[in-house]
């Protein structure tokens, strides 16, 4: 029997949601200031409207503040799932008002793509877009990548912290408390922000010869998109716009930093050896090397690049972008579509696998892959070795851990759910007449929060396909659990007693 949620449950979820909306209101001040400096009153108005609406909704649920916060696991999960629907809806307002979208759903699609750090885009004429809107698109990725709820936790604290934290697909706590872990995550991000923006600005100004102010715009937007493995770029030609190995190298470092879990950042800080002992780090190095070899062999076979240096540079960047879940590209979609055969396979597998757990990258995640392989290997050994043989089921992940059957089952279930998610978008794409290869590429890109595109995501795409990609981005980013909790909450509300 399902138990119908009490009004107090709904009020608590509403109150927690309101707290997060304050963060959206505060975040909107950054592009607002940019618009005012630019004397861009149209964009400024749209940001003021969004900020006002976010604060008004947040204030209106303030009366639901409980006397004692007794938020449970399900409250946190439901809140997170709702946050990741409401925030894109609010974030889409300035986008929709920018006149660069054909329909409001397209603006919502881009906002969802932003907060889930996917990077697929339906914006039109981005090359004439207001700078402040470009900053907002990247800020959405930064906000989503860092964790909107995490930001709210830092600002407000409160009950149900652990559920909210896990709801955003973060499994690890680096420090004993969620608060100190949140502060560590934001400190790491701040460090990379200073490094990334300075490096990109310097390369833009002194090597590429851009105007210093324009270089700053590129640096800020690209940093936020690269470190949070988002993929929105201020120009339509993505990273191919810069024609610079140096710029690509800085972006590469930021993409890798973004795809590392914050636990890995902590381990690196203590010494690289600590990191290399981790099953997750070993797995991601192996899968990256494997998919890179596959992609490069495939790319060489296509004959698109006639020399090793070209092959290496273009293949490496695209593969790194795919595996880290960023979605930046140095080649246009029309060119990427020619990466057929093994090259296509390598890139698609890299996208599907994704980065490390508790990072801003999407996909199945390296730890789940590592644990699945370890579990399967143990099963094979059990079958081959004499009865009674002792098989080690220990692995290292920060500290020595044991691979219990329950854990193995859990990671395999999530991995299978990802496969199902990728198949869903592929099937709908095929139903609309998209060739299998392209349908699969785009579906994996959406479900794994990557953002590389072969052109299926387009302003003229069917609404149903667009909605399916939105669903994939939402579910893929939250790694299923919070979404299932929301569905359960709604079902209990409707049919529960």
């Amino acid at each position: 029997m399902l138990i119908r949620p009490q009004p107090s449950d709904i009020k608590l979820v509403g109150f927690q949601l309101g707290r997060v909306l304050y963060v959206v209101g505060i975040a909107g001040i950054i592009p607002l200031v940019w618009a005012i400096i630019d004397r861009d009153w149209h964009s400024a108005s749209s940001f003021i409207f969004m900020i006002g609406l976010a604060l008004a909704i947040a204030a209106s649920v303030e009366r639901f503040r409980p006397k004692e916060e007794h938020a449970g696991w399900h409250h946190g999960m439901v809140t997170v799932a709702l946050v990741w629907l409401v925030v894109p809806a609010l974030g889409a307002i300035p986008l929709a008002l920018s006149r660069h979208y054909g329909r409001p759903l397209d603006a919502f699609f881009d906002a969802m793509s932003g907060v889930t750090t996917t990077g697929l885009a339906l914006i039109q004429d981005v090359d004439h877009l207001a700078s402040s809107i470009n900053v907002w698109r990247s800020a959405l990725q930064f906000l989503g990548g860092q964790g909107i709820v995490l930001a709210a936790l830092m600002l407000f604290g409160g009950g149900g912290v652990l559920a909210l934290y896990h709801g955003e697909a973060r499994d690890e706590r680096i420090f004993p408390s969620v608060g100190s872990t949140a502060r560590f995550i934001w400190s790491v991000s701040l460090f990379h922000a200073v490094f990334g923006i300075t490096a990109l600005w310097a390369v833009g100004s002194f090597i590429l010869g851009f105007h210093p102010m324009r270089s700053l715009l590129h640096a800020i937007t690209i940093f936020m998109s690269a470190f949070d493995t988002g993929g929105f770029a201020p120009m339509s030609t993505s990273i191919g716009y810069y024609h610079s190995v140096t710029y690509e190298s800085v972006i590469g470092v930021l993409m890798v930093a973004g795809a590392l879990s914050f636990g890995a950042h902590y381990a690196l800080w203590r010494g690289p050896r600590n990191l290399l002992r981790n099953l997750e780090a070993r797995t991601i190095l192996t899968t990256f090397a494997g998919t890179l070899v596959i992609a490069l062999i495939g790319l060489a076979a296509t004959g698109l690049y006639t020399d090793g240096l070209s092959l290496g540079r273009q293949g490496f960047f695209q593969l790194l972008s795919a595996h880290t879940g960023t979605g930046f590209s140095t080649v246009p979609p029309a060119d990427l579509i020619r990466w057929s055969g093994l090259a296509f396979g390598g890139i698609t597998i890299a996208m599907a696998l994704g980065g490390m757990g508790s990072s801003t990258a999407g996909g199945v995640k390296a730890l789940r892959i590592g644990l699945t392989v370890r579990s399967l290997w143990n099963t094979v050994k059990e079958a081959l070795l004499p009865e009674g043989s002792v098989i080690s089921n220990r692995y290292s992940q920060g500290s020595p851990k044991v691979l219990h059957p329950e854990l193995a089952q859990s990671v395999m279930t999530i991995s299978l759910l990802y496969v199902g998610l990728y198949l869903l978008g592929t099937a709908v794409g095929i139903a609309y007449g998209v060739p299998l290869q392209q349908a699969m590429f785009e579906s994996v890109s959406a479900g794994a929060s990557v953002g590389l595109s072969v052109g299926v995501v387009d302003p003229t795409m069917p609404v149903i396909l667009e909605l399916v990609y939105v669903l994939q981005m939402w579910i893929g980013r939250l790694e299923f659990v919070a979404v299932f909790a929301l569905v359960g909450f709604v079902v209990s509300w409707v049919v529960g007693e």
Partner: protein, 180 residues
């Protein structure tokens, strides 16, 4: 329409093929690779200078002809390609024109050059190595209308939110005092 001829400096023996569109180059690059092409379009973004050349993005999409801010008509994504321009050809554009962006339609250029697809000398980059160019139309400001009313609604909502919050804060303080 202001027409400003800047230069027609054909370098090398190759003659340009018929005028083409960037979308043709992108959809069938291999058949155009190494050929001299003529394309027209709007210069957008930045004037980058490195590797002894200037680097520009030329868009020959619908927005180059009918800017979005003027017509309000959406016509899909941008279609652009990079130009690599030698300094002697670039000087006169830079002195007079800024590239296109928000509220600014960049200059429309007609360029002739070799289409270098996956150029091994640039580790696989694709661009047109420009040998001649002409400014067909100067850049110009685009109209932008501010929607002040929406901003006012936002201000009213924010003030309302602040009032509600202040009231709740007062109420909580009162409750704490009563509890003490």
């Amino acid at each position: 329409m202001i027409l400003t001829s800047v230069a027609m400096l054909l370098v090398g023996p190759a003659l340009p093929s018929a005028a083409t569109e960037v979308s043709d180059l992108l959809s069938d690059p291999e058949s155009w690779a190494g050929k001299v092409v003529e394309v027209s379009g709007e210069i957008v973004g930045d004037y980058g200078r490195h590797s002894g050349s200037f680097w520009l993005q030329l868009n020959d999409d619908a927005y180059a002809v009918e800017p979005l801010l003027e017509t309000g008509r959406l016509a899909g994504s941008n279609i652009g390609l990079t130009l690599r321009v030698p300094p002697e050809l670039f000087e006169e554009i830079a002195s007079a024109e800024q590239p296109g962006g928000y509220r600014w339609r960049g200059p429309i250029l007609k360029v002739v050059g070799e289409y270098r697809y996956h150029d091994p000398d640039r580790s696989g980059e694709t661009y047109i190595a420009v040998t001649a160019l002409e400014i067909v139309e100067s850049g110009r400001h685009l109209p932008s209308e501010a929607t002040g009313s929406l901003g006012m609604v936002g201000v009213v909502l924010a003030v309302g939110a602040a009032t509600v919050l202040a009231r709740h804060a007062r109420q909580r303080r009162r409750e704490w005092r009563l509890e003490d």
